[in-house]
């Protein structure tokens, strides 16, 4: 969709009157810019990456010096956004759902400190795990932190909610969580813009101890958070995003959250939905409307993407007689994203079927690109390890995770950002020697450095292979925070200079690379090998630019 992006990126303010065709991610970015954003902070992660990228490509953002460079990880991003909020300006921090685990400490505590300038935390969930290691539901985090949550049902609402969330955040001095899912993030639809708002001027918090979470102050702040909950509830009950639509057939009532409303409407195309309907776009759950629906309807069907969050709340609210239908009683599959057909079955409507898929259709899993430097690194590593027992390679999150698949089958773990080094260290502590970690340059600066320090302090017999392709490749080639400084970082952490080896992962250097890997695997302390060659996709992009 380059054509539309072109229009958007270069004429941000001149095409306001027209309907824009935007990805959900882009709608959030445009909303933030129009609502007076001063800084966006993020680490790339599918499906959230395009929010920040939109701001990075926006001429308006550039002219207004909106902060938009990548952060080292989601925790540093969250903290920087909180700092901008402290200074009175509007800030947004964006991440994929598992990024919120990394940012959980500042996120939970930001609910206690509260905000000053408007602060929005965008977390993009990935039900069905299109590009993720789990399908955790960020609404649980929102509830855990006791902050309001907004969940758009379409791109227009995503845009509008950003304005609403910034205002809400400043009214109650609280961060607001904006929860989206892959389907929302990466689906395109029309959006109409509003009048732009200026950025805030810098202003300090009225109480300069607001952000000092010493226990005595934290207790007061926590009390404040607890007491504000009733206002959050009132706001939810009066929210334009929580809509109750009455209907005559009260045998069933439906509570529908986020984008599931679209699948519901699809099933009643051309006719009105016959059952009372409560559409949820803002949490805490609007108690008044929920109680009305439950009191008036025979059974309650809950449609939500992700975990059965609302369903569990309701089962807790009303023990006993009322029938609650959802993911927990099998009306809807327990896992995976929703679609129109799942809803048809849940509603007792006729299901639709296409043609059978022939048996010869085999899977085509994603794979390392032809010419990828990781291929040469894995071929060398496999050769070095073939004499030893299998299962010694702890890996990480990135393109190189595809090394788990044939023909390489070179790695034995992929857990979370940075876990390669620390797991290799733990396994070495248990006696698995040699033990190997494989991590990318961007993942290393995200969360690998502290683990390397642990290994150095313990003189653990681990070999850490930092695959340096000078980019964050998996998410589309974003800047890598430590580019050109990987050896210096390792030296600074305390790895001995003689055991930091840079190699060039190319077929013609295979023998030499194998020899160097062998030497370092034999070394009974921390060694680092840095296979360095630029990501082939980036090379290709660069060449195309050059010869355009």
């Amino acid at each position: 969709m380059k054509i539309f992006l072109f229009l958007l990126r270069y004429n941000h303010n001149t095409i306001m009157a027209h309907k824009l065709l935007l990805l959900g991610d882009e709608a959030i970015a445009v909303g933030a810019l129009d609502a007076g954003l001063s800084g966006i902070y993020a680490y790339p992660g599918t499906p959230s990456t395009e929010i920040t990228e939109y701001v990075q490509h926006s001429r308006t953002a550039k002219e207004n010096h909106i902060h938009c460079s990548w952060s080292a990880n989601e925790k540093t991003a969250m903290e920087a956004a909180l700092g901008m909020s402290y200074a009175g300006k509007r800030a947004m921090v964006c991440m994929k759902h598992v990024g919120l685990n990394v940012a959980a400490d500042p996120f939970i505590n930001s609910a206690i400190t509260g905000a000053n300038g408007g602060l929005i935390v965008v977390s993009a969930d990935d039900p069905s795990m299109h590009s993720s290691q789990n399908e955790q539901d960020s609404r649980v985090y929102g509830k855990f932190a006791m902050v309001p949550i907004l969940e758009p049902s379409n791109q227009q609402e995503a845009y509008d909610m950003v304005f609403y969330a910034f205002d809400f955040s400043e009214k109650y001095k609280i961060p607001v969580l904006l929860r989206i899912t892959t389907r929302m993030a990466h689906s395109r639809s029309g959006v109409v813009r509003r009048e732009c708002r200026d950025e805030n001027t810098m202003h300090m918090p009225s109480d300069l101890r607001q952000f000092v979470l010493l226990p005595a102050i934290a207790r007061k702040r926590y009390d404040n958070l607890i007491h504000t909950q009733k206002h959050f509830l009132e706001e939810s009950e009066n929210s334009p995003f929580n809509l109750y639509t009455d209907a005559t057939d009260k045998s069933k009532g439906i509570i529908v959250a986020g984008i599931a409303i679209n699948y519901l409407k699809e099933n009643f195309a051309g006719r009105s939905i016959p059952y009372p309907l409560l559409k949820i776009g803002q949490y805490p759950l609007p108690r008044k409307q929920v109680e009305k629906l439950v009191a008036e309807c025979g059974e309650v069907l809950i449609l939500e993407d992700g975990y059965p969050v609302i369903e569990e709340m309701l089962r807790g609210y009303i023990p006993g007689t009322k029938k609650i239908r959802g993911r927990l009683d099998g009306t809807i599959p327990r896992t995976g994203e929703l679609n129109p057909n799942i809803l048809a079955v849940a509603l007792g409507l006729p299901d639709t079927k296409g043609l059978p898929v022939p048996g010869l259709v085999v899977n085509r899993p994603p794979q390392l690109c032809a010419g990828c430097p990781h291929i040469d690194s894995y071929i060398a590593l496999n050769e070095v390890l073939k004499e030893l027992t299998k299962g010694r390679v702890f890996s990480d999150i990135g393109c190189y995770t595809l090394g788990a698949l044939p023909p390489y089958e070179a790695i034995n773990s992929c857990v979370d950002m940075g876990a390669s080094i620390t797991m290799a260290k733990g396994a070495a502590d248990a006696g698995l020697v040699p033990s190997v970690a494989v991590i990318g340059d961007s993942t290393f600066t995200h969360s690998g450095i502290t683990g390397l320090l642990d290994a150095v302090n313990d003189k653990s017999p681990v070999t850490v292979i930092i695959l340096d392709n000078a980019t964050t490749a998996m998410t589309g080639g974003q800047d890598s925070a430590g580019e050109g400084r990987i050896e210096d970082i390792c030296k600074g952490v305390g790895v001995e200079e003689a055991h930091i080896r840079v190699i060039k992962p190319l077929k013609k250097y295979h023998e030499e690379n194998v020899r160097i890997m062998k030497e370092e695997l034999d070394y009974p302390g921390v060694s680092v090998i840095i296979p360095r060659r630029e990501c082939i996709v980036n090379v290709d992009k660069r060449m195309r630019q050059k010869f355009k």
Partner: protein
């Protein structure tokens, strides 16, 4: 008018460009549009698909229900079969390239893949790679396929020509002409074979 379209291929084959051109043409007709894309991990040489819905009436779901797609447009033959569950059994058309993108060790026998495509009551299967070369642009196989799909999209042929001129306007007249030729060769094949 409403068309539900599944676009299929392998990451990097240009299905998003096809969607962009159809999308532009539909917007010029003041139609509504919803398009669900694949980004991230599966782009790396894996199978990719996109749901594209265009309609004069408002569209509810981003996802097309099973059995409701009017059209599968695929730039790769094996991929064209992967999404048959979405195709309308009565009226659905399948338009596909016959040239495989073979990056897996267990790619099925080509004759069997083509036999499955030929079993379908409504299909157009063409060697888009050769036609693209004939048009002077080996990279325009996706545009050839779009041309072959154009009779089934409910929009006048000129609308696609306009959309191509707009899409490639920064690339110069030569590129525009090659892509218009690719579109035409695809269209001619479809007209002669349906």
């Amino acid at each position: 008018m409403k068309k539900d379209i599944i676009l299929a291929g392998v990451g990097g084959q240009g299905i998003i460009s096809i969607a962009a051109i159809i999308g532009y043409a539909a917007l010029q007709e003041k139609m509504f549009l919803k398009q669900s894309e694949v980004h991230g991990m599966s782009q790396r040489g894996g199978d990719v698909m996109s749901n594209l819905r265009i309609s004069h009436d408002e569209i509810a779901s981003d996802l097309i229900p099973f059995g409701q797609a009017d059209l599968i447009i695929s730039v790769e033959p094996l991929e064209s079969l992967r999404y048959l569950a979405y195709l309308s059994p009565e009226n659905g058309w399948l338009v596909t390239n016959t040239i495989p993108f073979n990056n897996i060790p267990n790619y099925p026998e080509m004759s069997k893949v083509l036999a499955e495509i030929n079993k379908l009551p409504h299909h157009v299967a063409l060697d888009a790679d050769t036609l693209a070369k004939e048009a002077g642009s080996a990279r325009s196989a996706n545009i050839v396929i779009l041309g072959a799909a154009s009779p089934f999209l409910g929009l006048a042929y000129e609308k696609f020509e306009d959309a191509i001129r707009f899409t490639f306007r920064t690339k110069g007249d030569a590129v525009i002409e090659k892509n218009l030729k690719a579109l035409k060769l695809g269209r001619e094949f479809a007209d002669q074979n349906i």
